[in-house]
């Protein structure tokens, strides 16, 4: 059971609400995914409006809404958005996204760290979206991030786990859950992240733009389960090199006393 900041999640697949062809398709796909945490862009929804086209179609019993600051270009904008979200939506959870470059939408590490520090001090549960930088991940944990969300590859690219080496280090060093977020284009990518020991993955584009989003959502759900099971099962080692060979130098010098 995954636990983030005291809240339990059975499903380790987090989803998003962007890029779907309609609210109805989104609803069907997200329900098929088994996901219990779905992120919503504060710039897209009106948290105060019960009839909001995204919020109203999703069952709040079933989905925990994680507002994100998508569109914020610096810490000040992100913090403003977060406070607004808390005031009208009553939630102190936040997926922090600070993306000054509208072309790549890559996260700004300096502003993200600054915003996390301010938001944690202000009582928010902060899940920052970051490039797969292990030192940044550590610094964010030091200032109280509830999880870290390194990207697999740039958002929307469907390139899979291009940052594998750094994600491995982040997972190894983490004191909080690690959620691989962005760039996972195929169920096999999600499974790979889970096999490495990621605590969860967040998938949006790959499901939303599939020819059959509902079927793809099911595929991702199965892949995340399989990857997690494999991780917990402790796979055997690949045997390519590191065969312990005969020692280059003997241990004859050792005394048994």
């Amino acid at each position: 059971m995954l636990n983030i900041a005291g809240r339990n999640f059975r499903s380790r697949l987090f989803t998003g609400t962007g890029k779907f062809s309609s609210a109805a398709v989104m609803r069907a796909a997200l329900e098929a995914s088994g996901s219990e945490m779905v992120t919503v862009a504060l710039r897209r929804v009106d948290l105060a409006d019960p009839a909001d086209d995204i919020m109203s179609v999703l069952d709040r019993e079933r989905f925990f809404f994680l507002p994100n600051t998508s569109g914020a270009r610096d810490a000040a904008e992100a913090v403003r958005l977060a406070k607004l979200a808390r005031a009208v939506g009553g939630t102190n959870w936040l997926k922090l996204e600070v993306t000054p470059d509208p072309r790549t939408l890559l996260p700004d590490p300096v502003e993200t760290l600054k915003a996390t520090e301010q938001l944690v001090a202000d009582g928010f549960v902060v899940l920052p979206y970051i490039n797969a930088d292990p030192i940044l991940a550590l610094r964010l944990q030091d200032v109280g991030a509830a999880a870290v969300m390194p990207l697999g590859s740039p958002i929307g690219t469907n390139q899979g786990l291009q940052t594998r080496l750094q994600v491995e280090i982040i997972i190894e060093q983490a004191r909080v859950p690690v959620v691989v977020d962005a760039g996972l284009g195929l169920p096999s990518h999600a499974a790979e992240a889970m096999e490495l020991g990621a605590d969860a993955v967040l998938v949006n584009t790959a499901i939303a733009v599939a020819s059959d989003p509902v079927m793809m959502a099911r595929a991702f759900a199965a892949a995340v389960d399989a990857g997690r099971l494999a991780y917990e099962a402790g796979p055997g080692e690949r045997r390519s090199q590191a065969e312990a060979s005969s020692p280059v130098q003997g241990l004859d010098f050792l005394r048994d006393e």
Binding site: L138, G236, E237, A244, S246, L251, L254, R255
Partner: protein, 380 residues
């Protein structure tokens, strides 16, 4: 405890020593096989590598440990020397020559004397020194250490201390004065044995001591040294405890490097005989296991060990050797001084040790740090 940014951090929780022993004893040859093959090893793998089931695989462990060590650290051994400042101690510990009830000649060096001793080491070519003192704050406290560090920092690349535990603020103050490393050994992680051998004094409090390494790291020190005195309790379980302590510190204080020392009990005043035997073979298994568990940890081999063993281990796991050591305060300048903490197994000069390291195809590195790092007064 809080970290550098004020977030609360969890204390170190160690399972009962008997549980550690049980985990190790339960390891099978298949567990050892798996542990040898993994690219990264868990504490379960460490338990297997420390077990009796791993003994037939010692040569393979040596080979893997050597490869990892060379890959991570290069063909390099760092050299350092201890500088004993004071043999006064308020603790009563059965295994130590400085123990308060032992009738030895005791000395605390005046600052000028300490400086003179240090200059002898500098002239001999040492640029890393470890200041050592018995735990007697009234005789040798933070003011003394800060003043000595201020006098010495420009002559040495790095200065570390092995003295009584201090407060976080005191560590931060010493860091600012030029001390970058702190060694604070638990001696034994077995609470029962700990209580048996630490009779009186502040050191007799197991839990108080167990939390010091984290405090050192959180105070911003660049390096913290862990250690177990081998010969007090089951060395295999000590190894697992050291691994768990190391893993905890890695998570807690990622900015601080960790080293581990493995002093084996040597003859000392008081005539304490080891409670359990630890052979060279055992010690080598412990070193290999910890290297396989953690590729980055510094492993220290002191002059307690004999020449044959120290030369044999070059390139297999240790990264740091002391050399030319004297464990008597004032002993570098006054060769007639008495009152040592323990007797030495390798009495070669730094030159001879360096030559032996070179003969093995390794570089004896005397300087691997610089005081200039701290002149910016950075407190991070």
């Amino acid at each position: 405890m809080n970290n550098v940014t004020g977030q609360a951090v969890p204390p170190f929780r160690l399972p009962e020593f008997s549980q550690l022993q049980a985990r190790i004893a339960a390891s099978t040859p298949a567990d050892v096989e798996r542990a040898l093959r993994r690219p990264r090893r868990s504490d379960t793998d460490l338990a297997a590598l420390l077990s009796a089931a791993a003994e037939p695989r010692l040569a393979e462990m040596a080979d893997l440990a050597g490869r990892l060590t060379r890959q991570r650290f290069g063909r390099v051994i760092q050299l350092y020397a201890p500088l004993y400042l004071s043999s006064f101690c308020a603790n009563r510990c059965l295994y130590c020559g400085f123990s308060v009830e032992n009738r030895i000649e005791r000395r605390v060096l005046a600052l000028e004397e300490a400086e003179k001793e240090a200059l002898i080491l500098a002239r001999r070519g040492f640029s890393h020194i470890l200041l050592v003192a018995g735990e007697a704050p009234a005789r040798l406290g933070v003011d003394y250490l800060a003043e000595l560090a201020t006098r010495l920092r420009h002559r040495f690349a790095s200065i570390a201390i092995e003295v009584q535990p201090l407060t976080r603020d005191e560590y931060a103050r010493l860091f600012a004065a030029g001390i970058t490393g702190v060694a604070v050994y638990q001696e034994t992680y077995d609470r029962r044995t700990y209580d048996q051998v630490h009779i009186a004094g502040l050191k007799a409090d197991y839990d108080r001591r167990l939390e010091i390494p984290a405090r050192v790291a959180l105070a911003g020190m660049r390096e913290v040294g862990l250690g177990a005195l081998l010969g007090l309790a089951d060395w295999r379980a000590e190894g697992l405890a050291l691994g768990l302590h190391l893993a905890y510190l890695r998570k807690l204080a990622w900015r601080t490097a960790v080293t581990i020392s493995f002093p084996r009990l040597r003859p000392a005043a008081g005539g304490f005989a080891p409670l359990v035997p630890v052979s060279e073979k055992n010690l080598s298994q412990l070193l290999f296991a910890l290297r396989l568990f953690d590729e980055d940890v510094g492993l220290v081999l002191s002059t307690r060990e004999e020449v044959r063993f120290r030369d044999g281990m070059i390139g297999l796991a240790p990264t740091r050797y002391s050399a030319g050591s004297c464990t008597i305060p004032g002993g570098y300048g006054d060769t007639g001084a008495t009152g040592e903490q323990f007797s030495i197994g390798d009495s070669r000069s730094i030159e001879e040790v360096a030559a032996a390291i070179r003969a093995k195809g390794f570089d004896p590195v005397r300087k691997d740090w610089d005081a200039v790092f701290q002149q910016a007064g950075s407190q991070q």
